[in-house]
Assembly symmetry: C2
Homo-oligomer: 415 residues x 2
């Protein structure tokens, strides 16, 4: 369908009945202009947290299967309400749940992965000129049980539907204008980016940019589905296009500065320095489903060494418990944790062809007397762990040093 538009509206965009009406008017206008429209919705803002809080008051470690049934209700409600709001405007609309839209997933409850989408029904209804309103975030597994795709899963629902329906792009309507060079709350001069590559967006998402979830971007990259992130509150919003890198793209050396304050560092001291110890530690963490970010192993002294790693601060307690459990096995002397840290990162596809970017970052931080505790790099990013108290300053400094407030001239790629 050449005139197909797939849009996703986030929780704040459908957070109140008035917002739902406003979104319905937007969609009805598009429909009158001759578009075929599939709309994916999140739960009304706060709803998912409210449901989760109820579950947590009942049981410490809730069964994931039941949590999925519980949480999926939030999207069903917003989906039915938006459909009703469209009908009130005389716009033919039909609400569809994850199951009804044909969203099949594996059975990893609360973080299920999409296996397939059978869009037969959706295509039929689109041909009947109906706007399809889809409850995001959810699907069903082979057993027929409701599954959810994890936080921000509605973005992934939308991208997967756009791919299955062969849309030209997938629009993510949210409460911000697009992807920025830094968090405007920290850096008032932060600039909205017009275009970002999938790879950059992946790094940004994993480094603390909250506008899109990693899995959604991964999915979009895998199927080369361009994402247009824009504001649902401002009709003038041009947004940010996230797409495959190409030579015509505006390609600054650094596209953005990210901060992630929800990090913790654990240091395991006095570990016996012999082959297999690191494997012992990180296998135990992986088995518990904990994602470790950076790892440092000190130089060995007298057959012992220290190993430090970082992870999401929410996983810190569990990680410490796991370390304590294997402490005697690997000969640990002490386990130290530090939650007063931040990860500051710079991301830019242009780094591939420019050297000295990391050095410039370290020098700038050092000039501000910001101590760097750990470093990790990839082709298109540099991350540093610093003390949390310096994190705002560091972001502001790096934003200014790399001139992110100014629209860059096109950088010609070295070939």
């Amino acid at each position: 369908m050449d005139n197909l538009i797939v849009q996703k509206y986030g929780g704040t965009s459908v957070g109140t009945l008035d917002r739902i009406k406003a979104v319905a008017e937007k969609i009805a206008r598009l429909q009158r202009s001759g578009k075929s429209i599939v709309v994916v919705v999140s739960a009304m803002a706060g709803e998912t947290d409210k449901l989760l809080a109820m579950a947590e008051k009942l049981v410490d470690k809730p069964e994931r299967r039941e949590i999925d049934l519980l949480l999926s209700s939030g999207e069903r409600i917003s989906c039915a309400l938006l459909s009703l709001a469209l009908q009130a405007l005389g716009c033919p609309a039909e609400a569809m749940t994850g199951r009804q839209i044909g969203m099949r997933t594996d059975d990893a409850h609360t973080r299920a992965r999409i296996i397939s989408i059978d869009v037969t029904k959706a295509v039929k209804k689109l041909k009947e000129n109906k706007v399809i309103v889809v409850a995001g975030f959810q699907g069903i597994n082979e057993e027929g049980d409701v599954t959810t795709l994890g936080r921000g899963g509605s973005d992934t629902s939308a991208v997967a539907l756009a791919v299955a329906l062969k849309a030209k792009q997938c629009e993510i309507l949210t409460d911000v204008d697009g992807v920025f060079t830094a968090d405007p709350n920290i850096v008032p001069e932060a600039r909205k980016l017009d275009v970002v590559s999938f790879d950059e967006m992946l790094e940004m998402a994993s480094l603390g940019a909250k506008v899109l979830q990693i899995r959604c971007v991964e999915f979009a990259k895998k199927y080369n589905m361009p994402l247009l992130v824009k504001s649902s509150f401002d009709d003038q919003s041009q947004g940010t296009l996230i797409c495959e890198e190409n030579k015509d793209m505006e390609q600054p050396i650094v596209s953005g500065v990210m901060r992630d304050d929800k990090q913790a560092k654990i240091t395991v001291k006095g570990v016996v320095d012999k082959p297999g110890i690191a494997s012992e530690i990180f296998s135990a963490l992986a088995k518990a489903g904990l994602s470790v970010d950076m790892i440092i192993q000190n130089i060995s002294e007298e057959g012992h060494t220290d190993i430090s790693f970082t992870l999401a601060s929410g996983d810190c307690d569990e990680a410490i418990a796991i370390m304590e459990a294997i402490a005697s096995k690997i000969g640990v002397q002490e386990i130290i944790s530090d939650r007063k840290i931040s990860k500051i990162s710079i991301v830019g596809a242009g780094m591939r062809s420019h050297s000295g970017v990391a050095a410039k970052m370290f020098k700038s931080l050092s000039a501000e007397k910001v101590n760097i505790l750990m470093i990790s790099t990839s082709e298109i990013k540099v991350s540093c762990i610093i003390e949390k108290k310096h994190s705002k300053l560091a972001v502001q400094k790096l934003h200014s040093v790399f001139k992110l407030d100014k629209k860059p001239r096109k950088v010609t790629q070295k070939s």
Copy 2:
């Protein structure tokens, strides 16, 4: 399964997290005592109204299909929460939606009828010693769309499941102790009935007793599934058993007095008195889905007559509009409506074998100077329309005249 118990908990019984915990403890005890348990739940008290109010703020006449998707969320939430509360007590439990429990309905959205239940999955899970927690009120139609069974539909879900699973009876746990001879708020001496026949309960339900919905009782009668209505708040509650009439049953002449204040009377004056006119009126009302209760046609004067009928006060405006639309066709002079009326009824299986019951009722009302506007009778009930201002007094008087506060001796049935 000989040890099978099917229970249904109403909205107030699962109205708060504390109530849900209390219900879970009850069920866990039953489970430990070796019972196989299927629990059907309503939405948390107030939830359905809250969802409906949101829909009504968005659109005047909401699509029933979308309303079903919206409202069914309420039961899904309480069902997931109760299942989690059971798991917290170490009681293996699994939440199942209407679809998952195999509840197939026709596609009359918001008042769907159950077509079949495929209990294969339920039986399998019961054999795994799991408590099955079912979201009541909902099913799916052939198209796979969510349907709901109408207000109080969870009772019907429970009875249908009890029938499909061949349970010995179906327990309806609610916020009252059982079925009473009258509303205890009006008649403090009202007595709880130990046993009521299906037929009596059907009359009571249709005459204003709110404890059970008519459709649930119809269903139970059709499949001869005994219903035990009791309190979920009081473990000592013995409740009321609703079952097939039998000779051993306590069989008072009058079992209860009911009041229905939500009635309206419409009088169509000066209708041409010729064949087909009544049919014209009541076909038009039936076509709009309005249920008419009592009908009176006056004696004709000079070729004209008046026709009065009663219906639920909520349908009054629509009925008047329909009468106005056909007024010229049937030669109406005036349409008068009266909402200040009540229907007072006495019900009792013993009436079948005793004459003079209606006369006694009329005489008692007359002694209190209560004017009777309309009368309707069946084998086991007598209903009178009276002015609303007398309704409390009338109930109290009849309760006392028929000695409903006293447990009757067994009445031997004439044969």
